[in-house]
């Protein structure tokens, strides 16, 4: 079974503070993704990566940075957190090289509240 783990699972941050959300996968997948989930918006892609050392902007990258130091790890960084970034964040991994699409395996989510 695919395994994607996120930490922290819950976080309360102050406005202007720095937040780092971490993600680890043991699937040996090349691709990793960060999405945020908000009612009325569904899952929206923030950043993604094709492999160690690469990061790509998704559909809503403003206010976020990403880091992929290794195949297994992918972090999402909020340098100056704002209340609008209060959300549930999901990390996922996938392997588009499988030839039948890009099935994603999601972590359990990180709930972030910015006050």
């Amino acid at each position: 079974e695919a395994a994607v783990t996120q930490s922290p699972r819950n976080k309360v941050a102050v406005t202007g503070g720095k937040v780092t959300l971490s993600c680890n996968q043991t699937n040996n997948h090349n691709n990793m993704y960060w999405y945020r989930q908000d009612t009325g918006h569904g899952l929206r892609l923030i950043h993604y990566s094709y492999g160690a050392g690469s990061t790509e902007k998704g559909d809503i990258p403003d206010g976020y940075k990403a880091s992929r130091p290794s195949q297994e790890n992918f972090s999402l960084i909020l340098e100056l957190a704002t209340p609008s970034q209060t959300s549930v964040y999901f990390c996922a991994s996938g392997d588009a090289a499988s030839g039948d699409g890009n099935t994603l395996y999601f972590g359990e989510g990180s709930r972030l509240i910015v006050v």
Binding site: V4, N31, Y33, Y35, G40, H41, G42, L43, R44, L45, Y48, Y50, E56, G58, D59, F90, A92, G94, A96, D100, G101, N102, T103, L104, Y105, F106, G107, E108, G109
Partner: protein, 116 residues
């Protein structure tokens, strides 16, 4: 750009009645289509995905047929169960594995509530 449309935000059904959740899409290329399901306080997980040939994917009593002529991939089940209550996402991934081909684009989701 590519997009996925789910028109119903909330669908409420009585147990035993048929389920149909709508999904239409726009894509430059011929995409793969997916349905993901998310139960309360859990992670989204794959329910089913379109095949490269004309097979109809099925899983846990759910099925979906990709209709390229109408750009649709509606999710159906003949008889709803209480345990089907969850958030359902339709998503697409391009077949062209170029610089953006590995992205999965999601709709806004449809919350299915099944009542006794």
């Amino acid at each position: 750009g590519d997009s996925v449309t789910q028109t119903e935000g909330l669908v409420t059904l009585t147990e035993g009645l048929p389920v149909m959740l709508n999904c239409t899409y726009q894509s430059t290329y011929s995409p793969f289509l997916f349905w993901y399901v998310q139960h309360l306080n859990e992670a989204p997980k794959l329910l089913l995905k379109s095949f490269t040939d004309n097979k109809r994917p099925e899983h846990q009593g759910f099925h979906a047929t990709l209709h390229k002529s109408s750009s649709s991939f509606h999710l159906q089940k003949s008889s709803a169960q209480l345990s089907d209550s969850a958030l359902y996402y339709c998503a697409l991934s391009e077949r062209n594995y170029g610089s953006s081909g590995n992205k999965l684009i999601f709709g806004i989701g449809t919350l299915l509530s099944v009542k006794p």
